[in-house]
Assembly symmetry: C2
Homo-oligomer: 206 residues x 2
């Protein structure tokens, strides 16, 4: 096994094609929504046959799931970049960064949260785990802010808080529903955190 450079001409093409398929699928989901994603469109845009898509991803769900996996990875990266000096600021930063990312990639996030598998096939564990990990990112700042509290409780609180923020944002960005202006929505999120942190006995140092 040559780890350093195992780049046969064959593998190069394979890798390039794989990336191209994913890029195209992601673009379609992002611009026209998951429901508009069609195998033939992807294959044609990637300049290959539908069979190749199946060779590379097993089935069409495989394409969607790979895009979703990369979406949650990108999200995690963005969230991990939130400054952590001040734990209170970090909490606001996480919420606001989630809002910004969701606003930029609404359809990709919806694909991540709304896609259902055919029949009773299970959703891939690694994706679920990554989502859970992202939603656990409020844990470190909360631990610093509530040093007396039980670890398990803080873990729960972290998930609860992030889920609440997710609800506010995902419904707030649902153009079908309210079409809250993004600026307004940021205010909403901030005020929500104001009140909730105050209720937890945390001083909003803003």
């Amino acid at each position: 096994m040559n780890n350093v450079q195992d780049e046969s001409l064959r593998d190069q093409k394979k890798i390039r094609r794989r990336l191209q398929i994913l890029e195209i699928a992601r673009a379609i989901i992002a611009t026209k929504g998951l429901r508009s994603l069609k195998v033939r469109d992807v294959a044609e845009a990637a300049g290959c046959s539908v069979g190749s898509v199946y060779n590379e991803f097993g089935d069409f769900d495989g394409v969607i799931l790979t895009v979703n996996r990369e979406t949650v990875q990108a999200l995690t990266l963005r969230l991990a970049g939130v400054p952590s000096e001040d734990p209170v600021r970090q909490l606001y930063g996480l919420a606001e960064t989630y809002l910004a990312f969701f606003a930029e990639h609404a359809n990709l996030l919806r694909s991540l949260f709304e896609h259902r598998m055919e029949d009773d096939r299970p959703y891939p564990d690694d994706i679920l785990q990554m989502v859970m990990d992202a939603f656990a990112l409020m844990y470190p700042p909360l631990v610093r802010l509530l040093p007396k509290a039980d670890d398990v409780k803080i873990a729960l609180l972290s998930r609860t808080l992030f889920s609440a923020v997710h609800g506010i944002i995902s419904l707030g960005l649902e153009e079908r529903m309210v079409a809250v202006p993004p600026q307004m929505l940021r205010q909403q999120v901030d005020q929500f955190l104001d009140a909730h942190l105050a209720g937890l006995g945390i001083l909003p140092v803003r």
Copy 2:
């Protein structure tokens, strides 16, 4: 026009069939999820042709949307039954009732929130309005609890709070994600409200 009883034999059959189709579609969504809903299955179970389904509902989305409409109506009915003597209790009651309803009808609620129209057709306004109205049900108790606050702000707060509760519940019930035991989830929701109401300066009288 005979308003009292315009029941020709024809109309009776039409109405009965319509109800039957909806009942079957609802049952399939509720038990196997929206993605498992197929025209032919519905038609066969209803003892009619696929053409009749189209005559009655225009297209397949029409069936789904009608089920969704009835779901939000049932939800509103349940939420409207929450006692309103004590405004604080009412808020907890609304959240807990939403949790109970969501737990009982998880797939129907997911159909309501996750169904996307084909192409760029708009989601029916009346359904959106009903969802918004349901999410505004926290407004009356909040007004009583925060008499000094601006009406518009309370309207926003109502939507924000309900959206937050929705996020906690919809992700908490996502068996693919966490599989929080329902009893645990109720505790989570209650504690969430505890903290948030405290932060709003409302005494949790529990």
